[in-house]
């Protein structure tokens, strides 16, 4: 069911739910979710998005719950998005940022989390530069953990908001040709998106320079190519990834200008795609590197929709995880 189908008639018929809850207490990876659970999150987000259109953009659902946003790597969009989502659900939120925390005084991540845990938060949202950092937390805390991006591993809420945005423009993700272009090697957004898009039946193509290609990526069931023209041909969705210079400790690219010439998305290149193609970017964008300004601000771009939808997705994830039981795998009716 598309996200838009509820809008044409005020009183749309009820949807039948395959599942009504998540099995896991945490959201660390798209791998933890079944396709039915992914659809539950996406459908719940449709209802959450409506709250953002009201005069009073707040519901009392998470009143009295404490959510800690532990962001140990720079972030604008994701941190603000989580914080707005938490506030719209009436949770009490507090932010711990890398630069102002005791981690600078030499405290380890485990000790920081043990101390936060001692103040009994209900949920911890974690952004960390090391892959797998969230998994480390599971053993030392009782709070529900949400991965807001761990190193080069995963960024599950980004993939969910990308899928939500695609569903606003396309009737179904099943069978769409989705092309992901850019710095594949360093991208957690890529990993989460491949897992999610494959789970929902998309035909996924990845494209980037050989130095930034992920070895063995075809085992995820995707087509890999270094030819952008070939990848973009007949694409329904083109998703651009940021060139992550801060993670490149070596010579991966001769120059950014050459990168733009071979892999930058331009209006010219886009002509090979389907006429109703949409252009996505998880942000922050490097204009003139992976995308031309003309495309970024053009009619096919849904980049700002992605940002708006991120709040709804995070509200849905917070709401659904708050209901999962103390024991694992509680599926009560």
């Amino acid at each position: 069911m598309s996200a838009q189908s509820g809008t044409d008639s005020t009183l749309a018929p009820e949807r039948v739910d395959a599942v009504s809850c998540l099995r896991s207490r945490h959201l660390l990876s798209i791998e933890d979710l079944t396709p039915e659970e992914i659809l539950l999150i996406l459908d719940t987000s449709v209802a959450m998005k409506e709250i953002g259109t009201r005069p009073i953009k707040k519901v009392p659902t998470l009143r009295g719950k404490t959510v800690v946003n532990l962001f140990l790597e720079p972030s604008t969009r994701t941190r603000i998005s989580f914080e707005i989502a938490e506030k719209r659900l009436s949770a009490d939120t507090l932010n711990v940022a890398g630069g102002t925390s005791s981690l600078l005084k030499g405290e380890t991540l485990s000790d920081t989390v043990r101390n936060i845990e001692a103040m009994v938060p209900d949920m911890i949202v974690v952004r960390h530069a090391s892959s797998g950092a969230c998994h480390l937390l599971l053993d030392i805390c009782n709070a529900r953990v949400i991965n807001a991006g761990d190193g080069m591993h995963e960024h599950p809420t980004q993939a969910l908001l990308d899928a939500f945005t695609i569903r606003e423009y396309k009737p179904s993700i099943d069978g769409l040709k989705v092309v992901i272009v850019g710095d594949l090697l360093h991208s957690r957004v890529l990993r989460s998106n491949i897992l999610l898009l494959r789970a929902l039946g998309a035909d996924v193509w990845v494209c980037g320079p050989p130095t930034l290609m992920v070895p063995g990526i075809d085992r995820f069931g995707v087509h890999a190519t270094t030819s952008l023209d070939r990848a973009v041909t007949d694409a329904d969705v083109v998703m651009l990834l940021r060139v992550q210079l801060e993670r490149m400790h070596g010579h991966f690219l001769p120059s950014l200008r050459e990168y733009f010439r071979l892999f930058g998305m331009t209006t010219e290149r886009l002509r090979r795609a389907k006429p109703d193609v949409i252009i996505m970017h998880p942000g922050p964008m490097n204009r003139g590197v992976e995308i031309s300004s003309e495309v970024a601000d053009g009619p096919y771009s849904v980049i700002l929709d992605q940002v708006s939808n991120g709040v709804a997705i995070r509200m849905a994830v917070l709401y659904l995880l708050a209901g999962v039981g103390v024991g694992e795998d509680q599926v009560h009716q």
């Binding site: 509820g6 005020t10 009183l11 749309a12 018929p13 009820e14 949807r15 739910d17 009504s20 809850c21 998540l22 539950l40 719940t44 449709v46 209802a47 959450m48 409506e50 709250i51 009201r54 005069p55 009073i56 707040k58 519901v59 009392p60 659902t61 998470l62 009295g64 719950k65 659900l89 849905a316 709401y319 659904l320 708050a322 209901g323 999962v324 039981g325 103390v326 024991g327 509680q330 599926v331 009560h332």
Partner: protein, 190 residues
């Protein structure tokens, strides 16, 4: 299981309520219907249809999901969250007379949640409550303005309203649920 209202009776009741509310509000000016999901929504739509026939005017109709306002959310340590559905109130409720529509009035907790939800959309001139069945056992000081049928029940009974749009059939049934397997299991000491 006993059928206490059949399709004909439900249809006539919704016509009668439509007449009543036209009379009490002196027409349908500034009126809007808001159905509480799930079964309040088709009821609201049928009432809007009846009002169009009686008064000749389209009445704005919306749907309200009260899940996020429930007072029993997060109170149980285990168990899934209720499934969230869309709230669709596409008109301004400011200064309108809102007619809130639900199928069964029981503890009054759903209506309390619906009032909180509605007030987040603006400041209506008034809110009136329409229910198909009032089964008693209120736990909050809430009362309906228009009642299809007053149905005295015991706490061991359950009242089910079924509507064609959702259930394929129009009927109201009353069932004894005192000794279902689930209740017996939950009362047994662990």
């Amino acid at each position: 299981m006993a059928v206490v209202m059949e399709a004909d009776r439900i249809g006539r009741t919704l016509v009668r309520i439509a007449h009543e509310l036209v009379e009490r509000n002196r027409g349908v000016d500034e009126i809007a219907l808001v159905g509480i999901r799930t079964r309040g929504v088709p009821m609201a739509r049928r009432l809007a249809h009846n009002l169009l026939e009686i008064a000749g005017d389209e009445v704005p109709t919306g749907a309200l999901d009260i899940t996020l306002y429930r007072d029993d959310l997060m109170r149980h340590p285990v168990g899934p969250q209720p499934v969230l559905r869309r709230t669709e109130v596409s008109f301004s409720i400011d200064d309108r007379k809102i007619l809130l529509v639900d199928d069964v009035l029981y503890t009054g907790r759903t209506i309390r949640a619906a009032l909180d939800a509605l007030i987040d959309f603006g400041r209506p001139r008034s809110i009136q409550l329409i229910v198909l069945v009032d089964r008693g056992h209120r736990e909050l000081p809430i009362k309906a303005d228009y009642v299809g049928k007053n149905l005295p029940t015991s706490l061991q009974q359950s009242v089910q309203v079924r509507l064609a749009e959702i259930d394929g059939v129009d009927e109201v049934v009353i069932e004894d649920v005192a000794f279902t397997e689930r209740d017996i299991a939950s009362e047994r000491p662990a």
